[in-house]
């Protein structure tokens, strides 16, 4: 079976090369639907209990909501096995998604070489890629964590040269370490060309015999946002000392006679090589480039980092005000495993606190949109017209200007509900440009002909209340589905 799939893919890839792009996309869709598991299963049994089904719940948090059939599959294999599978994304073939998402050339170039592309192309490709992966990847938990780290180590494409440098950051920092080790993630981010530009590390220099002052921007955010948290117990002096440790790490794509202009590098004569003390720990003079490793070790090992990251993960996965006991256990796991992200997620997702937290989170617009598209098994190539509503909902990808990343709070997202409603209504009625929706196969599998309850259970994971039933019962399926997508229940997860 896999062989035939592969050879089929080859053929279709050839076909793609020959055919015009639009028809290539049509072929991709046809192949994906017919052979690669994107089709709607012939029978669906949506959970119709009073409360949100536990498996539906897991898929709403550790994934961007269920694709039709996902709940059944999870029920068959059990939560523990599903979590393990998701924690090992390399074990899952992702061919259908790759066919859609692996066509953006600019994403494969090194930081220095991405300058060959025009800005609109770069912007377009990285954004579409992220949306497509979130919708179609079977490695859902991986993509969920990619979103998490993209916020945590936020970089705004529009600052300086970040637009040229973010694709390699996405690949070599975020995706390379999304389910890896936290220390290594931070170390990679610290010298990522995009981060060096975004938070001014590139120009952090303390030349000898000058009165150069270090640029503290990155050093501060490293402690405040990336590791310890603002009240993590560092002083202003620690920020300065950290900036001194980091001085000299830079990026210059026009570097003369460099072996590899795509990489950041250490410039010894810009480095303040004196003795430093960070968080009470001495760093001896003459450490050179090694100061960075010492610094990463010191800040990541600080107890505040374990609690800060535990709280942040619990807020993303469990609730805005997560139970203290759970946060403590995740923090202890962080310390025990020295930041093994898989271990943190395993503990979190199998905890009773997680199980009991159904419906407590507000979906941020990106998740709202992706979960709606997934639930309807819709077909999109993530063109501009699909990304535009996201913009209106206040969640344009890679556009958050400041280093704290998009918020996990509810409030900032409450002012743009109207755009969610309009997206849901348009999507269900087939009027959302750039997305093709066909409700017929779903309707058939759900046996849902005008049956509000079946649609509701499919989209929300429980049966509707009387009021919900009344409000979403409409003259036709598209309106019913649109109203469910616009309902308060679908805004939550």
């Amino acid at each position: 079976m896999p062989t035939s799939r592969r050879s089929l893919l080859k053929t279709s890839a050839f076909g793609c090369g020959l055919a015009a792009l639009a028809s290539c996309e049509r072929i991709t869709t046809a192949v994906n639907r017919e052979f690669l598991g994107e089709a709607v299963p012939t029978e669906l049994h949506p959970p119709e209990g009073q409360e949100i089904d536990p498996d539906f719940h897991l898929l709403s948090r550790a994934a961007f909501g269920p694709w039709p059939g996902d709940v059944q599959r999870l029920k068959a294999m059990g939560q523990a096995a599903w979590i393990e599978e998701q924690l090992h994304p390399e074990s899952m073939a992702d061919t259908a998604c790759n066919l859609r998402a692996e066509r953006f050339e600019s994403l494969y170039f090194s930081a220095g070489d991405a300058y060959e592309f025009r800005k609109p192309v770069l912007r377009d490709e990285i954004t579409r890629h992220s949306l497509l992966r979130a919708i179609y990847s079977r490695r859902q938990l991986f993509e969920v964590m990619v979103e998490f780290w993209t916020d945590h180590l936020n970089i705004d494409l529009e600052k300086g040269d970040c637009i040229y440098l973010k694709p390699s950051d996405d690949r070599e920092v975020i995706r390379a370490h999304a389910l890896g080790n936290f220390y290594e993630l931070i170390r990679a981010s610290a010298t990522s060309p995009a981060m060096l530009v975004y938070l001014d590390g590139k120009t952090n220099k303390v030349r000898k015999k000058t009165d150069d002052q270090p640029n503290e921007n990155y050093a501060r955010e490293l402690m405040e946002l990336h590791t310890m948290g603002v009240h993590g117990g560092y002083s202003q002096k620690d920020v300065r000392e950290a900036a001194r440790c980091l001085s000299g790490w830079t990026f210059d794509r026009n570097r003369f006679l460099a072996m590899n202009q795509s990489e950041s590098f250490f410039k010894p004569d810009w480095h303040d090589d004196g003795k430093k003390t960070v968080l009470g720990q001495p760093i001896a003079a003459g450490g050179g480039a090694g100061d960075l490793d010492r610094l990463v070790e010191i800040v990541c090992s600080h107890p505040s980092t374990a609690s800060f990251m535990a709280l942040k993960l619990c807020r993303r996965f469990v609730s805005a005000t997560p139970p203290e006991g759970l946060v403590k256990r995740v923090a202890a796991e962080f310390t025990r495993t020295r930041g093994d992200i898989k271990c943190l997620l395993r503990l979190l997702l199998s905890s009773p606190e997680f199980q009991a937290s159904q419906g407590q989170l507000l979906k941020r617009p990106f998740k709202f949109m992706v979960s709606a598209i997934r639930a309807l098994a819709a077909d999109t190539q993530a063109e501009k017209s699909v990304l535009e509503p996201l913009q209106r909902m206040g969640h344009g990808l890679f556009q958050y200007p400041t280093p704290d990343g998009y918020s996990d709070d509810e409030l900032p997202w409450m002012g743009t509900l109207m755009w969610r409603w309009n997206f849901g209504l348009a999507l269900a009625s087939g009027n959302q440009p750039g997305v093709r929706v066909n409700l017929w196969p779903l309707r058939k599998s759900l046996n849902a002909g005008k049956k509000t309850s079946a649609w509701f259970a499919h989209l929300i994971g429980r049966k509707p209340t009387e009021a919900e039933f009344k409000a979403t019962t409409a003259t036709d399926d598209p309106q019913t589905v649109g109203l469910i997508l616009a309902s308060p229940a679908f805004q939550r997860c």
Partner: protein
């Protein structure tokens, strides 16, 4: 329960619509709060050209006295603030020097948060944003979804806790679009039923969104014509100000409008009379000047307050930028502003090097806690009473600054 009261309130509003509008028309006043996000270097906006230290510490970033617009024997405006020079000379545009929050973290988010919440490092948080709190003190029953508007896509922290606040980019965007031929009224009715039955913040905000949509629908029929050939910058800041002007003219009860202008975090290559920061200053000045022109016959109806989370250090860093400092010059514009002055003592009394509790050496001293100024601006614009101000900023004994 809350649903019922909300509903009855709505129907009352609907019934009383026309007389209520007539009543508010006389005394309506809007506070426009412009937030310069990122920590604006106001030393290069209100240039202390008479100070040698300023030139000594900023060999490449200082605005030359010959290029700046002299206001008096101490201060000059950045050349890009030219569009606001006349307002300063008419006494409608002024500033207070060395204003700020007592937060010493030097963090954008901490300082913005503290300022937007109207809190201090030492005090106990009073809950919600300072404008949200103010509107709530004023009484929820007097608020409509258009009492407070934030231009953009996210509600700012300052409006947290407001009885009603709306986020929008353009008025014309506000419409619920049911599928063609579908029952549009039915969709609105269904949404109202579902969000009305939801007792959380989500339900509340959903209902407010539906109300706003109805009110704005009435405005959308006619395309907006600016007055006096006002030329708004063609960016989101300019468009946002234009929408604010439109709402003010429509007299829908707008009390507070919040708009952000970002990009002030000039650690790197800040520029002086020209350059990165100068472009931001130009956008700010041209935007406000356009609003002034557009609202020329409505000048009694608005006050503009421009703040940022902190100022920047006096000396420049080695990447030709400035790092986070403390005090900044808070600016205000409007008929009720006692302008034509830069209040406060001479700015450059930099903290000494040994003091590591300030965000690095060289930030401006903090002379006036921002809450004195915020309260005074609210008093002058929206008539904050002393009883109300004690509730708004409970941890501080407020003093008069002389700006309003």
């Amino acid at each position: 329960m809350s649903t019922l009261t909300r509903r009855s309130l709505l129907s009352k509003l609907a019934l009383a619509a026309s007389p209520a509008l007539a009543a508010t028309q006389r005394e309506e006043h809007t506070l426009i709060h412009v937030f310069l996000r990122g920590g604006a270097d106001t030393l290069n906006l209100m240039v202390p050209y008479a100070d040698d230290q300023y030139y000594r510490l900023r060999p490449s970033l200082a605005v030359k006295a010959s290029e700046a617009i002299k206001l008096n024997d101490r201060y000059a405006l950045h050349p890009a603030l030219k569009p606001l020079e006349a307002a300063f000379k008419e006494g409608r545009f002024g500033a207070v020097q060395s204003v700020g929050v007592d937060n010493t973290s030097g963090s954008h988010f901490e300082c913005q948060d503290q300022m937007e919440h109207g809190d201090s490092m030492s005090g106990t948080p009073a809950g919600g944003g300072w404008l949200g709190r103010f509107l709530r003190i004023r009484g929820s029953e007097k608020q409509s979804p258009l009492s407070a508007v934030a231009i953009g896509t996210a509600l700012p922290e300052s409006l947290r806790g407001a009885p009603a606040a709306s986020v929008l980019e353009r008025l014309d965007d506000m419409a619920i679009k049911a599928a063609q031929g579908a029952d549009s009224a039915g969709v609105v009715k269904a949404l109202r039923a579902m969000y009305g039955a939801d007792v959380t913040l989500l339900g509340e905000r959903g209902l407010e969104t539906l109300d706003l949509f109805q009110k704005v629908g009435a405005l959308q029929g006619t395309p907006y014509q600016v007055e006096n050939a006002a030329l708004y910058p063609k960016d989101s800041f300019g468009t946002g100000l234009r929408e604010i002007a439109r709402l003010i003219k429509a007299r829908l009860g707008l009390q507070v409008a919040c708009i952000d202008l970002g990009g002030w975090d000039t650690h790197f290559f800040q520029g002086n009379a020209t350059g990165q920061q100068a472009e931001k200053i130009r956008t700010l000045a041209e935007g406000l000047a356009a609003l002034e022109a557009d609202l020329k016959s409505h000048r009694a109806n608005y006050t503009i307050m421009i703040a940022t989370e902190f100022g920047r250090r006096v000396y420049e860093n080695a990447s030709l930028g400035t790092d986070h400092g403390r005090g900044f010059a808070l600016m205000a514009l409007g008929d009720r502003v006692k302008g034509g002055h830069v209040l406060g003592s001479w700015p450059i009394q930099a903290d000494d090097d040994g003091n590591v509790n300030t965000p690095g050496p060289g930030g401006l001293h903090l002379e006036t806690d921002y809450r004195h100024v915020f309260a005074e601006v609210l008093r002058g614009s929206l008539g904050l009473s002393s009883a109300e101000s004690a509730k708004l900023f409970p941890d501080i004994t407020l003093k008069s600054v002389g700006l309003m």
